[in-house]
């Protein structure tokens, strides 16, 4: 005989990436879980469930928020942006996404969505971060793969792209089928390969 332990279910409208999701959730359901399961937006990752790692960071009304520390019901009425909503309207990568790709700012990619939302908001707030400010911008997010070296480079590069002082896009010789290879040195790869038209696009 099943015990009637069913919780009260709340009907909530979540505005995510410009789309309205009508979801029915108990009050305790975390925003991170609602985004992943009810909305099917699995790009938001859960790394610790206690607000420390930052992998689940989404933008709530433009500000970075740990979605594992917010209930879904609390997010009703706010504009939520997840990693799936970061790309430009034409589908191209946004400056933060482009920069992480160019600078090899990701390896396993699990923490990456949290960095991308954080940096997207960060360079909007501070379009010209100093080196120290670039480090500070990502100082609340954990990454176990990259040692942060290329992530910091990516923050600076993202600001550069967003400001529009990026070097001309496109592979250097123009006819290598979009293959972005540099010669032997990641510095070169980072500076020359500003293209967004390359592999896997």
């Amino acid at each position: 005989m099943a015990e009637n332990t069913a919780e009260k279910i709340h009907d909530v409208r979540l505005e995510v990436n410009g789309v309205t999701h009508a979801v029915a959730v108990p009050a305790r359901r975390l925003l991170s879980d609602a985004l992943r399961q009810e909305c099917g937006l699995t790009g938001t990752h859960v790394g610790c469930e206690h607000g420390v790692c930052g992998a689940c960071t989404v933008l709530v009304d433009g500000r970075p928020v740990r979605s594992c520390l917010m209930f879904a019901v609390t997010a009703a009425g706010s504009e939520i942006t997840t990693v799936e909503g970061l790309a430009e309207p034409d589908g191209s990568l946004n400056p933060a996404q482009q920069a992480f790709r160019e600078c090899h700012g990701l390896q396993c990619g699990f923490c990456t969505p949290g960095f991308l939302t954080t940096v997207t908001a960060g360079i909007k707030e501070n379009p010209c971060p100093t080196h120290e400010e670039a480090r500070e911008m990502v100082a609340g997010n954990l990454c176990r793969c990259t040692g942060y070296q290329n992530i910091v480079k990516a923050v600076e590069r993202a600001a550069e792209i967003a400001r529009g002082d990026a070097p001309a896009a496109g592979p250097p010789d123009g006819d290598d089928g979009g293959l972005e290879a540099a010669t032997g040195d990641t510095e070169v790869a980072r500076k020359d390969d500003a293209s967004t038209t390359g592999l896997g696009a």
Partner: protein, 800 residues
Amino acid sequence: MSTKLMGEAVQRVEDDRLLRGGGQYVDDIDLGALHLAVVRSPHAHARIRSIDVDAVLDIEGVHAVWTYDDLDGAMAEPLPLLIPHPTLTHGRTQYALARDEVNYVGEAIAVVVADDRYVAEDAVGRVVVDFELLPAVVGVEAARAAENLVHDDVPGNIAARSVQQNGDAEAGIKAAPHTLSLDFDIERSACMPMEGRGVTARWDTANGRLQVWTSTQTSTGVRAAVAAKLGLDLLQVDVITPDVGGGFGVKINHPWPEELLVSLAAQRLGRPVKFTEDRREHFISSAHERAQLHHVDVGFDDEGRLLGLDVRFWHDHGAYTPYGLIVPINASTQLVGPYKTGPYRVTFDSLYTNTVIVTPYRGAGRPQGCFVMERTMDAIAAYLGKDRADVREVNLIQPDEFPYDHGLVFQDGRETIYDSGDFAAMLEKIKTLVGWDDFESYRAEMAAQGRRVGIGLAAYVEGTGAGPYEGAHVNIESSGKVKVATGLTSQGQGHQTAFAQIVADELGVPFEDVEITTGDTRRMAYAVGTFASRAAVMSGSAIHLAAKRAKEKVLRLASDALEADPEDLQIVDGVVSVKGSPGTSINLGTVAVLSNPLRYAFDEASKAATQFSVGDASKPPVAEDDEPGLEGKDFYSPIRSTFASGMHAVIVETDPDTAEITILKYAVVHDCGTVINPMIVEGQIHGGVAQGIGGALYEKMAYDESGQLLNASFMDFLMPYVTEVPDSIDIDHLETPSPLNPLGIKGAGEAGVIPGSAAIAAAIEDAEGLPITAMPISPSELFELRAQHAVATTTPEENR
């Protein structure tokens, strides 16, 4: 015109997907699965008197609750001991669900399957277990003292005692003009990938097939284990490894209880079932590593040349030994580093404790060995009043001494024979890169400002690319696209990119046309796994060989079609042509059509093929020694591991008042043989260095005496943020190709972490003028060491 991609910093094909939130990690796979949650032991050591699950099934949304009593057949037997070893005389493994005893906080006792994780966790809270508490054995010293036993039938808590020797170390030390006795202590840390463990399974009742998606470092290993435990034939089970959010070693251990229980639940309930580990569970029920105590006796001459080395160490193996002795064997054999040790003896005890199991974490015993050897080198230099680099130099294996046989048996059961390297050149490079010879003037300059700095260096050699084998399958489709499968898995190393570089080079096809699949037993059923820095060496070599086979077939068919000698053909950008006669050509896709004498033509490529004819009209359409399709399959199985090497140097500043430790400069010289993609290799080094810094300065598992892990969260386990890593890591490469594989590759995955603790300890010691023998070291520990040193040292100047 194709250019060689080997050695190029090609941007990663993985990234676009991952940057858009399009990665598919195991918890992202939506099958409408039920959720499994685990009742875990709250005690480090206890007997289970009874388990009451009555309150659980009353909860709406709960489908099943199982304890050990609900398991049968092989599932009721202990988990496999994956890597037996003759010296592992008392190997023990846990049950998928504890039978009558628990041996660490976190051990699985029961599982609940429910509609969602929230309900499953509610139900877990309702399971009542009656325990009889037993005394917990925590830490190496308690295990060694053996006043209490972890397992009643394991005397002295000793799982294994191993002795290896090369020559008579005791005699060497006795005859030496100088000797030292040293003790070292390394604490526990853990891999801590950002994605924990996870598994999803689906049972197809109609066809009797099980599909398992798991966040593992070995799909084939999990497949074999699940099949064996569930009594299924191997061909009834597919294991697919989707995107994996980091591994660093912990995901090579298998099968985890959850991998078996989720599979069993899917089969029993006829519905998809998933388990997604939370962070606390990862701390208390996956695996840790590193903890060892070492005692060293060493003899040396006036130059610091080693004349005898005797190392005795005690390895904390946690509660069970599922992964055998890989970690302590690595520590014992890789301790020797780039040096000619003279007669060497190493003895270790692998000890049980009532704590989380110990299985490889990036470096896998090598950081401990490196720490001990390098601290010993520094101690010798301090004793003799010599430059620390000079003492290392006189002991280095010279370039003309390769292959160099240490006379030890490595973790793969093969000889520890170094295949290539140039350690002398490497030492020069690291000294230049860090500014070793100019450091005294920098120290004086800083001292004038009231600042305290120190410099240290450490060297390592890392056996990489352990066997037994990996394989690859290359399939050229009639579109000209090349689909490649290799069985080992990826956890962020950029395999799809690096392996595609190898294929594009060998086959002469555009990089974009190559697609690599890893870790899917449907595509490659024979594979071992991703560990021991072996993916590039093993699968890279196998892929190269398989591509070569495919190319041979391409050229054979194309030579027929073009009526030209295969020797005169070239493949450029996916087109086979006669050298010097570019008009005489055929696309790879067309060759693929010709390779398959199918009855039906259904696309443009088939039509294009009609102008060519291949094969001997007097033979059957598929000749006896041939097969249809344009494919190549091959395996690479090396005689032994290949040995990569490197040296790190660090400059630290220590605050004279607060004892805060800051890394001012971090320099790396690295030799992983032929580099496939320097961008990826440097990324691996960066990540390894950060983990090394974590292990040296921040990370430890804070167990209390009763075996409770007090810091089982990211709030309290101090993993480095960007604020804890230096602003830049200076890297210089050295390439001494391996003679053991066709591309000359050595592994690069683990290297960055290995010498971190050793180099940082050396730099702190140099700054402070007091011996650093235990890692990690926190500011408060350094503060305490200063106080002890001030009391103990009556004439402080002597020890400087």
